[in-house]
Symmetry: C2
Subunit: 203 residues, 2 copies
Amino acid sequence: MAIEAPSRRRAIEDVASGLFRERGYAATSIRDIARALDIRGASVYAHVTSKEDMLWAIVERAATAFEEQADQALAATLGADPGRRLAALVRAHVGVVTSDPEVASVFVHEWRHLSVARRQLILDRRDAYQRRFHELIDAGVADGTFAATDPALAATFILSALNGIATWYRPTGRLGVGSIATHFAALAVRAVGGSADATETRR
Amino acid sequence: MAIEAPSRRRAIEDVASGLFRERGYAATSIRDIARALDIRGASVYAHVTSKEDMLWAIVERAATAFEEQADQALAATLGADPGRRLAALVRAHVGVVTSDPEVASVFVHEWRHLSVARRQLILDRRDAYQRRFHELIDAGVADGTFAATDPALAATFILSALNGIATWYRPTGRLGVGSIATHFAALAVRAVGGSADATETRR
DNA sequence: CCTACCGATCGGTAGG
DNA sequence: CCTACCGATCGGTAGG
């Protein structure tokens, strides 16, 4: 009758990502997480195998969400001009960040606490993700839609601005998700010299 | 005969900011810092009173550098149009970050490990710093130099992009400081709808 | 700047 | 999910 509770494992990850975002991974103890769940520290290990495994699960989930939403945005705008496609990519990114800012923030900031092997896996996926922005900017510069900029640097500029949202976004803030997405799409497209007109979405 | 060595205290802070940038404050122990200096952990306390005091000294120094360079950039462009002034502000920020990326990175990311009182002092100074960008964008929107954007959001967008440099910048990287500053000034000014022509500096 | 040491807390395990 | 416990490491102090 009651709504099926999410798995205990997932509930632990949710509490953990909130604390990791607030205090950082290294400054958050297993006992901190347990306290927030009103259980003992040792009990956490009935559901997770190690602290790092929790971090990995959170980071992995975020990486997948970013990739999936970006691919969907690109597929939905196939053939459109680079400005419109970049705007769609920005909107997708803003959507992922705002739908789970805790997980997004951990993905952006805490990956360096992963083991070297896992860290490398995430860095590779981050590179591949950034390449989507890079290539779109390349295309826009090539066809004259965008101004002549360094495409790699422009991609870094835009992604840094986007990732900042994971730090400051609060659901109760002044601006709603749609407003942030619209503004950020316009800011990003204009930054590379594109027209902000290409930015609006039809409802 | 030899060049006067910088104070020991400062040498410790330099090593500390490098480690804090790489691993984060919480994941860096006093013994890690001591090891990098080839001394014992307890010996660090001959020069600093606590780990948090070291963090505070680094963060404080960074805050002052940002404020001073921003004020100088604004003073040097008094009366110029908002696009040129914003470009100068961006160049100043890039200059501070690239001249000491370790310290800048600690300032951007590690302030939350300060005591509540010190954290609040830094947050207030960060707000005041951001207000310089905010007000300049306000002025540009008001006089029609910039497009109609949300000035607070635009300031956040630009500052997030700028602070990202502290994470990825390496002196040995592909682009030199001047090139990064020029590109970022153009990206920032265009983002708010200004003309990138206002961005170039005379030599 | 060192040796020797302190109490507290850490991630994690044993065995229910 | 608990109690009881482990070795390791933490920030920091005493006393040279």
